[in-house]
Amino acid sequence: MKLDLSPMASAPPATAKRPWWQVASLVWRILLATVGGYVCTVALTSLSARLCAVVFGLPLASSLLSMMLLSFLLYSITIMAVFASQRLGRTSLWLLGTTAAAMLLCQLPALSGVAETLMTTGAKVS
């Protein structure tokens, strides 16, 4: 039986007990969407900012700001995707995998160099 809290559905009374795994699944989905989605958004924002900095030769601060302006849109899409998914386990793996991949790609010499240059040379006014 699927967990259905919709006000429109012919739902069981709110007082009816639900199996613990359904509640746990819902809690995990909410955590995955909010916390996991946030970390994934930050990772993808960082990666895309570094890519823009390298490809277009922009200062990292400017490219990061550009991506941050779009980050709430990305975060919203991620949350909606998590809530729309039918297979929570597969979605969890996708989200964690994407986050890990983005964080690892940020460590590539070509991309991490953007930030390291900044650290060694100090703050540069764009």
Binding site: K2, D4, L5, S6, P7, M8, A9, A11, P13, A14, T15, A16, R29, Y38, V39, V42, A43, T45, S46, A49, R50, P59, L60, A61, S62, S63, L64, L65, S66, M67, M68, L69, S71, F72, L73, Y75, S76, I79, M80, F83, A84, S85, Q86, L88, C106, A115, L118, M119, G122, A123, K124, V125, S126
Partner: protein, 543 residues
Amino acid sequence: MKARFRDSMNWLHTWAGLVVGWVLFAVFLTGTLAYFQHEISRWMQPELPAAASPEQAVAQAQQYLQQHAAGSDRWTIVLPGDRGFTTDLFWRPAPVAETASATSVTQPEKRPTEKRPANRRFERASLAGDGTAATARETRGGQFFYRFHFDLYHLPVVWARWIVGVCSMLMLLALFTGIVIHKKIFKDFFTLQWRKGHKSWLDGHTLTSVLAVPFHLMITYTGLITLMFMYMALAVSANFPSSQQFFAQLQGDAPPVVASGQPVALVPLEQIFRQAQTELQGADISLITVHQPGDAAAVIELREASTNSLGSGGRELRYAGSSGLLLNAATAAPYPEQIRHLLINLHSGRFADPLLRWLYFLSGLAGTAMIGSGLILWSARRASQPGAAHIGHKLVHCLNGGTVLGLPLAVACFFWANRLLPLQWPNRPEWEIHGFFAGWLLMLLFSLLRNPKLLWRDGLRLLAAVYLCLPLLNFFSSDRHLGYSLWHADWVFAGIDLVFLVTGLCCLQTARVLQRRLASGSQSAIGGAATANLAETAGASNR
């Protein structure tokens, strides 16, 4: 989750909207009122004379600060602009031994939850148009609504902003999912049905949503952008050793101003103000900061106002305080920073002329109505289901009444307190705010205790009474009553009194409609029972 994408989005729309709906309602309503924060402040200080011109205000501010804040290391002057009526001055006082204590007209800027060391606290004074300290009644005025809509109250600022941020994010989700689930969004818009119980609430929710959906999307997204550096701080710290380096790279790094210890008279600020206006091609200037005034190393910073156009604001000029020489030319910020600035301007609407400001205001009211109708819709639909007696449903019903009726009552109580509290009442601004929360609490208690079927009718009658009496109260408590304002074409005072009247009449009319329905024994408009197939009809139309 759900089998169909649209069902999943419907679930997310319902719960994302419900969980934070009450906070969002408060944020939307106070934010909407904040579009007229200067006008509200003006209404709440009827004793104030007309404002000074910007040049006069600058000269008056310098004179006042030289007398009262001579030992301070920084002065900040907020100019009145087109809509303001006072020049606001802030300074950090020198150690007690070096300067006289603040005079009785100064008002320390404080929040109950903020604790700063005594020597770090800013002193504040407001100058009237004649250059003297404003002797009007002390009040937070419209500024209270402005601050409340993102700082809330009785909460640490950081916590409050995070709460508002989370609520805004959920609002954004509710908007996106709302667009997804309403497949026949425009058809629904043109088939508004009155007196159909829950169906009417759904139609009303759809109508207020669709009518201003670009505004709702814009205001929510740009609201998140205004506090983006707080919410996305992790992205900054993941890429920069410190946030200071990020901002230095983005906006340039102004060197700190260190006092030389050699006293030199400050150049006339009025002269610098004129120079800066020329340098900025006549743009308005909103803020002047003087670092180390009276020292040879003094620096004067002037910031462009964001009132000229959507893209205006943000340019800064720095002058030497001892010689008046321009230290840096105004340079354009990087494009992403300009876009961020533009989005913030779009949110705050400071550039808007009166007509556009009224459109902002009406759209904000539509957003508030959208949230309110969504909350009521949730409660009304559930009333027909078997679990209607569940404590959660009762809680939602009470919170709906306490918030949707309570916030307007709280706003009215804030204005009543402004007129009823004695002028010399100690800590007067705080007591006005206590009045605001007392009104809110009163309606929460009322919704808890009152028969659910009669709650909305009686609540609306109460609202009608307090709003219709406000112009009367203004008549008896000040000489700027509606008749005087209309006669003298003072549209600030007249406009606010008329808005009170219109609000009161709307509440009265709605209460009368509810009374007629109760009397005829028809289905309750808000909290009554509904037939089972009505929920299905509503659900079907939603799809």
